[in-house]
Symmetry: C2
Subunit: 278 residues, 2 copies
């Protein structure tokens, strides 16, 4: 593996057009040693088969995406969410990763109560965090951009994520810092310092901000270097906070998904070196 790519991790969603064996083969060919996996493709290929595939290739699984969606009020829905998150922890263990990324969930249908939804996340973490810790898995709360507050994630800032995480030991619950979600926030650098001082930066992800945003605003994350975010600046913040772990590139982008996956992977690695490392 080249030194430039030592910390690079490719999140599987960036090249979701690649099958699991194609992804692993492409990583091996390009000297990429780290991958972030998603539950759905892992399930499709098979949990044990995926674990064996990445282990045999010598790949490190930096994160499993994702657990969460913990804001339901209905008791049956809440029980189902907890069961699903326990399963996600078990899958993380089987894949040999120590980090499960959590997307907290939006407002229940008809609700306008952000505060209540955030509090229900804390309630769920009280159940899930010890379960995960017993299995060697850390939960990494990912604040999502405020444009997702209603329908996807009521945790919109690193400050909110840390307010939740700090109710638990750092080895149980920390945060995911994703440039796409926090780049606009002038408080984020101080919150990264807060997170780093407590050992709570459990994942660091990159995507660039490009406009115009597509309908639904889900799949418009820009390739590294194409947008408004100074990637070196954010790498500097997490490093100043003591973070030396993998740097995962996670792009949801219809345009990239329509291209050859191996070429997208190669170009993403090049962009990482150009805009983050050198």
């Amino acid at each position: 593996m080249s030194t430039d790519l030592a910390r690079f991790s490719i999140n599987q969603m960036t090249v979701r057009q690649l099958s699991m064996p194609e992804l692993v083969d492409a990583c091996t060919g390009l000297g990429i040693g780290n991958v972030g996996l998603w539950r759905e493709p892992v399930e499709a290929y098979g949990l044990e088969a995926t674990a064996k595939l990445v282990r045999d290739a010598g790949l490190t699984v930096t994160t499993l995406c994702r657990g969460g969606f913990l804001t339901a009020t209905d008791p049956a829905d809440r029980a189902a969410a907890l069961a699903d998150n326990r399963a996600a922890v078990d899958e993380a263990t089987a894949l040999g990763t120590d980090t499960l990324v959590l997307v907290s969930g939006g407002l229940p249908a008809g609700s306008r109560d952000l505060r209540g939804a955030r509090e229900r996340i804390a309630d769920a973490l009280a159940v899930l965090a010890p379960y995960a810790a017993e299995r060697g898995v850390r939960l990494a709360i990912e604040p999502l951009h405020p444009m997702y507050a209603a329908d996807r994630c009521v945790v919109s800032t690193l400050a909110q994520a840390l307010d939740l995480a700090e109710r638990f030991p750092a080895h149980q619950v920390g945060v995911t810092v994703d440039t796409y979600h926090v780049w606009w926030d002038d408080q984020a650098p101080a919150q990264i310092a807060r997170a780093g001082a407590a050992g709570r930066i459990h994942s660091f992800q990159l995507a660039d901000w490009t406009t115009p945003l597509p309908e639904g605003v889900l799949n418009g994350r820009g390739q590294i270097g194409d947008g408004s975010i100074d990637m070196r600046e954010w790498k500097g913040y997490v490093e100043a906070a003591g973070y030396t772990g993998p740097i995962e590139v996670e792009l949801f982008n219809e345009g990239l998904w329509a291209q050859d996956g191996r070429e997208v992977l190669a170009r993403t690695a090049e962009r990482f070196v150009e805009h983050v490392i050198r």
Copy 2:
């Protein structure tokens, strides 16, 4: 005018399908005594003609939208922006409103420097604020939702807007609180209190948050009551902070624009009474 509508102001953009005379006539017919105007339709109808029309109808112009776009680096562009904002102040004076809403502007093309852009806004305010104050006009910095940070407004939170405003006297520079832009922000209630204590809430606007967001995310603002925002809660925050002024409903919504403007206006007034007043 009914007591329920005493504080209601219809922002012209909500019913942009109405001509200026149609808007004024519809307001008179519905017992609506306040309007927020936009520069482009005012210019189209004529500044003096608009001023006479609203004056003769007994309408109060609560705000003029909008000045701003103060983030350019190029000297010629900066000079043009200042000249345009002085013209906006003059138009506000002619229309008899004391409040000019400012949308600060996004990143210049190719720039990734949010901090620098925010500082250039302060530089421009140092020129514009005294000019406006001499003419009886207050500038109201409007933080826009963080999804506009790159291409429209680098001021994303009330805290950032107040950090800028507080460099100037309160009668010169304050803020616009718009529920659409700040509803996700758990720091906003405290910042509203900060703004109110200093007499810096110069405008209070409402729009609801509905999903999915449309492409470009500009024209998907929800009718009051259709979305995720508890309007009474936010009215409570500004009132607890001492604000007793007009409450302007400003919806950018392709769906509403495709309907009969008078019906939209009547329904918006009904929704205001239902979700904000009663």
